[in-house]
Structure formats: structure tokens, C-alpha cells
């Protein structure tokens, strides 16, 4: 008997695959079930957002930002609007700031609901996903009330909002918040504490703080590794310094700090924190105020450049804008959090099994629209 000639097999996961969260292709080098190398291949959803932006007036870029991270369109619009406003030095009415924060945080909850549900789906639990979408629908209803759209809003404009919220919005938001905490307990019951789920997620794909920082991982995935960086807290933008909220960190409750379970659980906790922020913002929301009063007639930022970052549900969303004083940006670069978060997959996913790679990918919560732009 000679030696059994076994060799590694290259497995293409995607672009058509149920668990790649869009059209991502992972080139896996596998030895049986063990994955020895992961190479993400991206670009299937490339729509030239940055090149488009160089040919569009500033206010026309807003809808495109929402199309990048389509699960968190409000967050993207918010970041972009703030970047341009900072360049132009626009002072916003209080009501606008509060409503923006409310929408950004509602969007964070909606986005995390998808992340949490889809992670459950990746490890094989189908029902929690549907539960998460049930709550997400309620948030989308609120967005529809305000902007008329459920996914891509074009609602947060430079210098203000497209419309004021309709009557009854505040009450409905309170109603949603009242119901929401109970629902989070439901997710914890069906998924978080499930023994099989813990077996599948805890200790899997541990991301040490060093690795996370070296790869530029941001957002909940970074905080799950125990690094306390939340731009809402470290460099408060908008009016985040007025609210009282905690920044949940990964504590390794079920395994090691920075494992997939931590990345999942940090998101669950963040949803509760966002609900807290929304509640405070609703309490303090000024009744008077014209949301369109600060919208400039002409948007021509002065010559110069700016890098403005905000905390999107997926991490640090940065806009680098170069202006030459015209109504069209000379260059617009988007620092996409999911892009950096995905880059770590080979480092933390090596040596795990195929099933684990899917769980790790799910726990990183990527959106391909934003990676490919």
C-alpha cells in the first residue's frame, strides 16, 4: 500500500450561496471539512458610487449613500449630511438633530435585527430570523410614516430633513419601544441561551483586540473583542453627548472574549442601548422647529477637504470629501466598515470548519452593497 494521496480542495463559496449575505465569493482551500485558507473575492455589487459622486451635486449624492449600506440607509445619509454640513459650517435646528438621532438609532436596531436573525439562520435556526423581521417591519413602518420609503429613504438631507415627521409618529415610536424590550427577551430565550447555539458560536473565530485593531475592524465586531471604541462616545458627533447610554463590550460570557457569540451578543445588547437613546431623544424632542430652515439654497462647500466619521451599525463609516468650491465634490471616498471587517475573515477563520466559517462570516455582519460600493 502506498501513501494515500490526499490533497486540498478549492471550494468556491458563492457568489451564489445562501449564506454569503449578498454576492460575496469566498475561495476556500479545504482539507476535508477544515478550511486552511479563505480568500474573499468582492466586486460583484460594484456600482461606482465614488465615481458617480464626482459627477453629482452634493444633494444628489444623498440617495446614493443609502444604496451603499442598504440595511442602514439612515445611518449612511446621516454621516454624509453631517460631513457636508461640517464643511459648510451649518448650524442645525434642535428638532432636526433629535429626529436624526432617533432615525439613526431606529436604523441601528433594524440593522442589528437583521444581523442577529441572519446569524441565527447561518447556524441553522430559522425561526429567530422571522421573529427579528417581525420587529424590523415595525421600524420600517415608522420610516415609511416619516419618509414614505421602507428601505432607501433619501430622508436626511444636507442641512435638515426632507419632511417633518407626521402627527402620531412620536406616539407610535413610544409604542414600539414599549414592546421592544420584551421582544429582546424573546430572542435571548430562543437563541442566545440555546445550548446548541452556544456550542456553535462560543469560542469560534476568536478575534483578539490586536488582530481587530491591525485589520481596522470597527463597530460591534471590535467592541466584542473588548476594545471600548464607539465613536458616539469617543468623539461625540451630532448630539450624542446628551444621552445616557452604555457601550456594550464583549465579556466572553460563554467562551473567549471576541468569539462569534460575543459579536452576536454585543449586537443584542446594543439594540437595547439604542432603544434607551431613542426614548431619551423622544422625551427631549423639541415640539417647535422647522426641519427645512437650515437647508442651504446652494450647496457649495468652501475649498478644502474633510474626513468625517460616524458610528454606523456596522462600524466606523467615514466620508472623505475634497471640495474645490464648486457644487460637485472633487473626490468623495467612503470608508466602509464592512470592507475592513471582512478583511479579517482569513485571519480568524483559518483552521475552522466550513460550518464555522459561515458562522464567523455571519457574526461579522457584512453588507456587500457597502463593501463593493
Amino acid at each position: 500500500m502506498g501513501r494515500l494521496n490526499a490533497e486540498e480542495m478549492v471550494l468556491n463559496m458563492g457568489p451564489q450561496h445562501p449564506s454569503t449575505h449578498g454576492v460575496l465569493r469566498l475561495k476556500l482551500r479545504t482539507d476535508g471539512e477544515i478550511v486552511s485558507h479563505i480568500e474573499p473575492v468582492i466586486g460583484y455589487l460594484h456600482r461606482s458610487f465614488e465615481k458617480h459622486a464626482e459627477n453629482l451635486e452634493y444633494q444628489m449624492v444623498t440617495p446614493f449613500t443609502g444604496r451603499c449600506d442598504y440595511l442602514a440607509a439612515m445611518g449612511s445619509e446621516h454621516g454624509y449630511a453631517m460631513a457636508v454640513e461640517k464643511m459648510m459650517g451649518i448650524e442645525l435646528p434642535e428638532r432636526v438633530e433629535y429626529l436624526r438621532v432617533i432615525f439613526a438609532e431606529l436604523q441601528r436596531i433594524a440593522s442589528h435585527l437583521v444581523a442577529v436573525g441572519a446569524f441565527g439562520l447561518d447556524v441553522g435556526a430559522i425561526t429567530p430570523f422571522i421573529y427579528c423581521f417581525r420587529e424590523r417591519e415595525l421600524i420600517l413602518d415608522l420610516f415609511e410614516m416619516a419618509s414614505g420609503a421602507r428601505l432607501l429613504y433619501n430622508y436626511i438631507w444636507i442641512g435638515g430633513l426632507a419632511h417633518d415627521v407626521p402627527p402620531g409618529f412620536v406616539e407610535k415610536t413610544y409604542e414600539f419601544l414599549d414592546a421592544f424590550d420584551e421582544r429582546v427577551a424573546e430572542y435571548n430565550q430562543i437563541l442566545t441561551g440555546n445550548k446548541i447555539f452556544i456550542e456553535r458560536a462560543a469560542d469560534i473565530g476568536v478575534m483578539t483586540p490586536e488582530v481587530a485593531i491591525n485589520y481596522g475592524v470597527t463597530g460591534p465586531s471590535l467592541r466584542a473583542s473588548g476594545v471600548n471604541i464607539d465613536i458616539r462616545r469617543t468623539e461625540p458627533y451630532s448630539i450624542y453627548d446628551r444621552f445616557d447610554f452604555d457601550v456594550p463590550l464583549g465579556q466572553g460570557l460563554q467562551g473567549t472574549i471576541g468569539d462569534s457569540w460575543d459579536r452576536y451578543y454585543v449586537r443584542v445588547l446594543e439594540m437595547t442601548e439604542s432603544a434607551k437613546i431613542i426614548r431619551q431623544a423622544l422625551d427631549q424632542l423639541p415640539v417647535e422647529g422647522d426641519v427645512k430652515s437650515a437647508i442651504p439654497r446652494r450647496i457649495r462647500p468652501p475649498k478644502g477637504e474633510i474626513y468625517f466619521r460616524s458610528e454606523n451599525p456596522r462600524g466606523e463609516l467615514g466620508y472623505y470629501i475634497v471640495s474645490n468650491g464648486k457644487n460637485v465634490p472633487l473626490r468623495l471616498k467612503m470608508r466602509s466598515p464592512a470592507f475592513s471587517n471582512l478583511s479579517v475573515i482569513n485571519e480568524i477563520g483559518q483552521g475552522w470548519m466550513i460550518s464555522d466559517v459561515i458562522a464567523i462570516l455571519g457574526s461579522l455582519d457584512i453588507v456587500l452593497g457597502e463593501i463593493d460600493r
Binding site: L11, G124, I126, T127, R200, S355
Partner: protein, 415 residues
């Protein structure tokens, strides 16, 4: 008692004119057709039920459009599958690709020949019925490996290899748990096993709580064995939380990835046939098969009164969100209790053994399997093997020993 359906069909007058061998062949054919029809209809009904069950668990409605409450949805789906284009991938191994699904289907349908639906209704009364079922149902793995290999697709191959490993590993503990029961009865005949479970007995022989004389209550080791068997069997039929061979979020559709149309429908058919088979085996081996849980009509009356009392108590005292009882089981038990006290005939019918009780038990187990599927996440391959070799197998071996010791202690067997 008629020993088999085929013999019963032979008693018909129409067949008397034919030669005996022709009549015998014809009756066998009728029985085979009946079994196949049962499996097919069963799959269609179960798919509908599974959709509805999953829908209610997920705050949805499920199919509602085709027929009243969507009852014809699965029929429509089956017709659609029959019409679909027959696709065989170019690089596939054609022979194995075609044969694979049929091997799986045949292996899972043929097992029903030995299943007793009631004390008289069964296709073949074999003296090695249990052995026959366990051995035939393991042929399924051959079909799965054939299908996975023939597809010439990496995902299919992964699915097939996982499936082969899984089914072979779980067959051993499952077999050993069944042996524990055989040790008690001393027979592999399913009818004998069911007959041994008639009447009423004490819980675990000594504890004076009158319960049906089912093997699950016979002794503590068989009580554990029932759950070990259910877990092992769930793994053997590739259902969640052990559905790794076809885990849709990992392997696309596992060994079924390249299949479509009729061939895919065959996989589906056999999947539900296997689930039903497992439910039948649990019902037969541990839950008394077609035996009624009540000994006589007084037992029925008292039994249902106790059930209603428990339901009322539950409603009154358990008020947590997840623990509270829905109004339907309470109302149902209430209505049945009243009916049982008012109409002794109904109570007598409930107390008599029959296909009704068999199907009730099977339905309960199938619902349990669906409940698992829509609640649990999926295990990983190595965790699955861990559960099999390091948890369930030792447990089943200890159980087998425990059963023997228990029987020696209670004096059921002497040396």
C-alpha cells in the same frame, strides 16, 4: 387474527376464479401499491402540516391561497414538480444520478411493509420485524452517497460524506436502544412487542401511579432509552438539529443540490417517509403502538378528568408568557371529558385498541420532530460525532445493561 394484508385480500371472492399463484401475486401487488399510496399521501399531508406548524411558530399564516386554508398547496406543488424539466448535469454520472433517488425511496418505502397500523392492519407480520426495519432503513445511506457522488458537485459530495458518516454513527446507538426493548419482550416481532404493552401498570413497576403499561414507563432505563432513541433517530433521518447533510445555509442543499423536478420530489417523499417511520417506531416500541392508554371505559373517564384538571390547574397557576396554556387544549380536553362521561360508547371506543391511537401517537412524535426543527440551530459535524460516539452510544450501552439488571431485580427474568 389475520397475519397479513395480502392474506386478507386473498379471502376476497373476486380472486377465487384465478389460479392461486396469480391471485397471490396480485394481492402482493395491491399491498405494495397501498403502502406506496400511504407514503405518498402521507408526505403530501405532512408537508402541508409542517408548513402550517412552522408558520404558526413563526407568527405567519403559511399557505392560504390554494384551496381552503391552503390545503391543496402541497398537491399543487407536487404537480408542479412532476411537470418540471428533467435535468441531469452534463458532467454527472448518469446511471448513479438516476438510480440514487430511487434507492433512497425504495429503502424508505419498503420498511412500511413491517409496520403494524393496528392489531389486524399490517402488510407482513414478520417475526423479525424490528430487525428488518432497522436493516432496510440503513440502505438509505447508499442512495445518498450515490446521489452525492453522481452529482459531480463539491457541495453534494460534502453532503453525501457527512450523511454517510452521520447515519452510520447513529445506527449503532439506535440499534442498541432498540435491543434494550427486545431484551424485555424477548421477541423481534412488532406485534408481540405491542401486545406486551397492553393493560395498566405502575410507573417503573414499583411507584404506585397507575399508567398504561408502555415500555417508556416500564422501567427508568427504558424511559431514558426512549429519549436516546428519539435523538438518535432524529439524527438518522437527517432532521434538525442534525440536518447537517443538507444544511441549507452551509451546503446549499447538500446531496440534493443538483436534483430538481421528480427526482427531488423523491428525496422529499423519502424524507417524510423516514420521519414517519421513526415516529411509528417510537410509538410501537415505547408508546404501546395501537394500544389505548386507557384500560377500560372507567379508566377513560377518570383519565380524561385528570387531564382536564391538570389543564385547569395549569391555566390558573402558570401565567408566565411562555409557560401559559393556550385555550384550545384546555377546551378540547374539557369537551372530550364531558363527552366521555355522557356517552359510555365513546369512552369504550377510546379505551379499545386501534389505528386511531397508533396515528395519534405517531402524529405527536412527528409534531415533536417538527418542533425540534423549527426551534433548534444546527450542530456542527464534529459536535454531531461527539454526541453520537461519546454521549449517546455509552448511554445506550449503560441502558442496555441497566435494563437487564432491572429485570433481574424485579424478577421478570431468572437465571
Amino acid at each position: 387474527m389475520i397475519t397479513s394484508l395480502a392474506n386478507w385480500i386473498l379471502t376476497f371472492d373476486i380472486l377465487s376464479g384465478m389460479g392461486s399463484s396469480v391471485a397471490w401475486g396480485l394481492s402482493l401487488f395491491v399491498v405494495a401499491a397501498l403502502i406506496f399510496v400511504f407514503v405518498a399521501v402521507n408526505a403530501i399531508v405532512l408537508v402541508y402540516i409542517e408548513r402550517k406548524v412552522s408558520a404558526f411558530m413563526q407568527v405567519r399564516l403559511g399557505p392560504m391561497r390554494v384551496g381552503k386554508f391552503g390545503t391543496l398547496q402541497t398537491v399543487a406543488d407536487a404537480l408542479k414538480l412532476l411537470q418540471k424539466e428533467d435535468i441531469i448535469p452534463k458532467m454527472a454520472d448518469k446511471v448513479l444520478f438516476i438510480v440514487g433517488p430511487w434507492v433512497i425511496l425504495v429503502a424508505s418505502v419498503v420498511t412500511f411493509a413491517a409496520i403494524p397500523f393496528s392489531d389486524t392492519l399490517l402488510a407482513a407480520n414478520m417475526n423479525i420485524g424490528l430487525y428488518y426495519i432497522v436493516s432496510i432503513s440503513s440502505i438509505v445511506v447508499l442512495g445518498i452517497v450515490m446521489a452525492g457522488w453522481a452529482s459531480n458537485n463539491k457541495w453534494s459530495l460534502y453532503g453525501a460524506m457527512r450523511s454517510a458518516a452521520q447515519i452510520i454513527s447513529y445506527e449503532i446507538p439506535v440499534g442498541i436502544t432498540l435491543i434494550a426493548v427486545v431484551a424485555v419482550v424477548g421477541s423481534l416481532n412488532l406485534q408481540t412487542i405491542i401486545e406486551a404493552q397492553g393493560g395498566t401498570g405502575n410507573l417503573f413497576y414499583w411507584i404506585p401511579i397507575p399508567l398504561p403499561n408502555w415500555f417508556i414507563f416500564h422501567n427508568p432505563f427504558l424511559f431514558i432509552a426512549a429519549f436516546v432513541y428519539l435523538i438518535g433517530a432524529t439524527a438518522e433521518i437527517n432532521r434538525t438539529p442534525f440536518d447537517i447533510p443538507e444544511s441549507e445555509s452551509e451546503l446549499v442543499a447538500g446531496f440534493m443540490t443538483e436534483f430538481s423536478g421528480l427526482r427531488w420530489a423523491l428525496f422529499f417523499l423519502s424524507e417524510y417517509a423516514n420521519a414517519t417511520l421513526v415516529a411509528f417506531l417510537v410509538a410501537i416500541v415505547f408508546l404501546g403502538g395501537w394500544q389505548s392508554p386507557f384500560a377500560d371505559y372507567e379508566g377513560t373517564q377518570i383519565g380524561f378528568s385528570i387531564i382536564t384538571l391538570v389543564a385547569i390547574m395549569w391555566t390558573l397557576f402558570v401565567r408566565t408568557k411562555t409557560g401559559r396554556l393556550s385555550v384550545y387544549p384546555l377546551g378540547l380536553s374539557f369537551v372530550i371529558t364531558i363527552a366521555v362521561w355522557l356517552f359510555p360508547g365513546f369512552a369504550i371506543w377510546l379505551a379499545s385498541p386501534g389505528i386511531f391511537w397508533m396515528l395519534m401517537k405517531v402524529g405527536t412524535i412527528i409534531f415533536l420532530l417538527m418542533w425540534f426543527r423549527w426551534t433548534f440551530p444546527r450542530l456542527r459535524v464534529d459536535q454531531l460525532m461527539y454526541v453520537s460516539w461519546k454521549v449517546i452510544l455509552p448511554l445506550s450501552l449503560i441502558n442496555l445493561m441497566g435494563v437487564a439488571i432491572w429485570m433481574w431485580l424485579t424478577g421478570e427474568i431468572q437465571f
